[in-house]
Structure formats: C-alpha cells, structure tokens
Amino acid sequence: MNIFDRMMSLDRRWVFLSLAIVCVVTYLWDFSVPITISNEVKSIYDRFDSLQEGDMIYMSVDYDPNALAELHPTTYALAEMCFRKKVKIIFGTLSNLGQGMVDQVIRDIADSVSHDATYNGVFYKGREIVNGVDYVFLGYKPYPAMVIQAMGLDFRVPFPTDFYGTILDSIPIMKGTKNFDQCKMVIDMAAGNVAEMWITYGHGNYGVPLALAVTGVMGADMYPYLGSGQIFGLAAGLLGSAQIEKLCNNPGRAMDGMRIQLFAHILIIFFIVMGNVGFLATRNRNKMR
C-alpha cells in the first residue's frame, strides 16, 4: 500500500478527528481571518453609519434560538452601534421565542455601552441606556403578516403597551412616533418566511426602507429582492454577521464562528482534493500495468 492508496482510503475517523481539532483550536484561539465585505452588507452598514443622533430605527428580531449562532451577532453589533451613536431603536419580535432573547440583548448591550469604547477610530463615552428614552421594546404578537400591516398604520394598534406593560403613549420616544414613517429604516433579522412578509407588507404596502439579515440557508432565495430594490441590504448567515461585526469594528461570536467555518471548509476541500489525487494516481498506475 503506497501513499496514494492511503490518501484514498483514509479511515473516516481521521477525518472526524482533524475536523474536531480544527474546530476546537480555531474556536479557542483568538485570531482574525480575512473577511471580504460584500456590497449588500456594506450598504446596510453605510445606512447605519449615516444615521444622526436622535434618528429612530425599527429592529425586528424574528428568529428563535436555533438561528442564534448565525443572527445574534448582527443584532448585537448593530444595536450597539445605534446606542453608541444615540440613535433610538424600536425593538419588536415576530417569533414567539424571541421575547426573552431581545430582553437579554438589550440588557447585555446596556451593560456594554456603559463602558467607554472606540469603534472605527471614534471614541464613545460610556453612558446609561434608558428604557423609553433610548429604546422601546414592543414585545411579541402572533400572525406576523397582520402585525406588520397594523404597525404600518400605527404601532399602537398591535401593541397598545410595550413588552413591560407600559402604555405606549406614556413612553417618551413614542410621543410623535406613529408608524414606520418616523423610522429611518427597518432591519429584520429573520429565520423563516417572516422575511418575505416584511418585503410584501412592510416594503410593499408602506415603502419602508428595509434590510434583511437571514440565515445562510435562506440567503440564496433573498438575492432577487436585492436586485429588484425591495431591500437595500442583505446579510446572510454567519458570514453576513461576521462582515457586520467587521464593519462595525466590534468583533464577536460571528468572527469566531467564521474562523471555524473557514478552516473547516478548507479542511473538507483538502480532504476532497487528497482523495482525488490518490484516486487519479492509483488509476493511472492500474492502467500502466
């Protein structure tokens, strides 16, 4: 048995072991991999970057814990960026498991924003994030299509009170805020067909500027909407999240995940190539005999 035979018929457990090692090492070892920024992600960041103090946006957190690894980093990075820039955020969720997650996100970010930080060369002083002044969290209501349409008319229709039970009219930032018209944009983090509902009802009926962050598996289906201009930006999967983190200069879980993903990919491709080299080499040898 020569080396080519071995290359061809490696025990699968070597594949498993090398994959496990690569994943654990790249997970624990903190270094950054080059991430190419695609235009559709850049345009999301540019929109956020152009926001001014006092502007307001709507963030819809429409995924459940299964898509957490892929979409949470985007939520964290963009929400933190807004709070640092003193942009106000209206949070909402159309996933019934999303409420606890949003609540956690807000608390985590409030904690992080209370410290000083420098992002992309701009220094931000730590400050207190105040519920009702810096953000409002509307909570969850079932039947997403209906909720989106109702919010397009008035946030108070589907959500008379916010998640914490406060009447919307008594919340400072909701004074004079009626519907999407007062929001500079809507960003939807979605795992599932809610993304299409935002396009159809949110953008279609009310013309809100819409950006999507979706799971990797959904990404390919969303490109047509980008081409037709129904969404102005798209971040798909872990890669999209990693690009957002990079643009925001705020590395987190997605960049970690990208290391794993990139090296796992390279490893798998390496094994495929190795198998083929072995295969072709032994085939030629067999022919010569």
Binding site: A20, F271, I272, N276
Partner: protein, 213 residues
Amino acid sequence: MKRQLPLMLVFVFGFAMIIQYFIPHQASEWVNAFFMDWMMIIGVFALALGIWSLTKVSWDKVKYKKSNWQYAIVTLAGLFLMIFFGFDYFRHFSTPVGSNNYMYVKFYQHIVIPIQSTMFSLLAFFIASAAYRAFRARSLLATLLLIAALVIMLRFNPLLGPLQPIMEDFSVWLLNVPNLAAKRAIVIGVGLGMVATALKVILGIERAYLGKD
C-alpha cells in the same frame, strides 16, 4: 365486510376531500377544520399504541435478556419517569398546554435539548466524511457533482483573491438557474407521482396496507 367496508371508506372520504377543495363555501371550510382536529386527536390515541409498542419491545428485551438488555432498562426508566412527571397534574398543574412540573421541564431542557442539538451537530462531521468518500472523479456524473460542490464551497474563500467575486457571481447563478431548473423538473415529477399514488389508493388499486383476512 371486513375488507369491503374499509375500501369504501377510503373511496368515499378520499373523493369527499378532493371535492371539498373546490368548494369555497363556509360549510366546506368547516368540514376541513373538523377533519384536521380529528386527525390530531386520533394521533394521540395512536401515540398511546406507540408507547405500548416501545414498552413491549423494551420489556421483552429485559425479560428474555436479549443483547444490550441493560439499556432497555434505561429506556423504560426514562419513559416512565418522564410520564410520571408529565402527568403530575394534581400537585403542580396549571395550564392545558403541558405540565409545569419542575423536573419535567428540566428533563426536557437538560436531556432532550442537548442530545438533540448534539445529534444534529454530528452532521458537521458526517458531511465531511461523506464529501471525502464520495466526491471522487470516478465518472462524468461524479465529476459534475464534485465540481459543482467545490465551486459553491469555495465561493466565499478569501484565499482565492481576485477570483473570489467571479466565483461568487457564478455560484449565485448556479444556485438560481440550473438548480432551479432541476428542482422544478423533480417537483413536477413528484407532483404527478403523488397524484398517481393517491388516486391508486382512493380507487382501491393499491390496498396492501389494509390487511387481508
């Protein structure tokens, strides 16, 4: 009677459901909603049969000391503990959607969820070993499979340098065009196959599942 009545039931209800589809009237929607509800309720009765089957098979393993019988005890223990906690109604129960028993919830969170997501994540390993073993340029077809997979896998790889955007555009085209065509052909074929199978069942040509005696 034993054999004719079931076949008649299949025929009558099969056609009734087909006709129901074309009737938008409220009465027809009402029938549909009822059938859905019934199906769910019958499903729970069947689940009782399932639990019975699982218990019996596991119990027989223990009784006759078949190989790995010790593990059948684990199955039975898990099953009955969870049922015990789940039906612990009279002490802790509050809502009709499920038990609020503390151990029931914790068992779900710390046994079912971690094992489930770990089983799911095994896919990362299996997809690697399957790719290594199967993606060989053995034949024209295998080579096509291999090349398409490599193109898609390489599309985001920064090591490609200036080739990367071209690869990405090509991948998107591959996913949106030939991929779409092939899927469409499969879906159309599957649609016809389904209709044919359903018709054969409704017409009583295919009756293997109904037993004989």
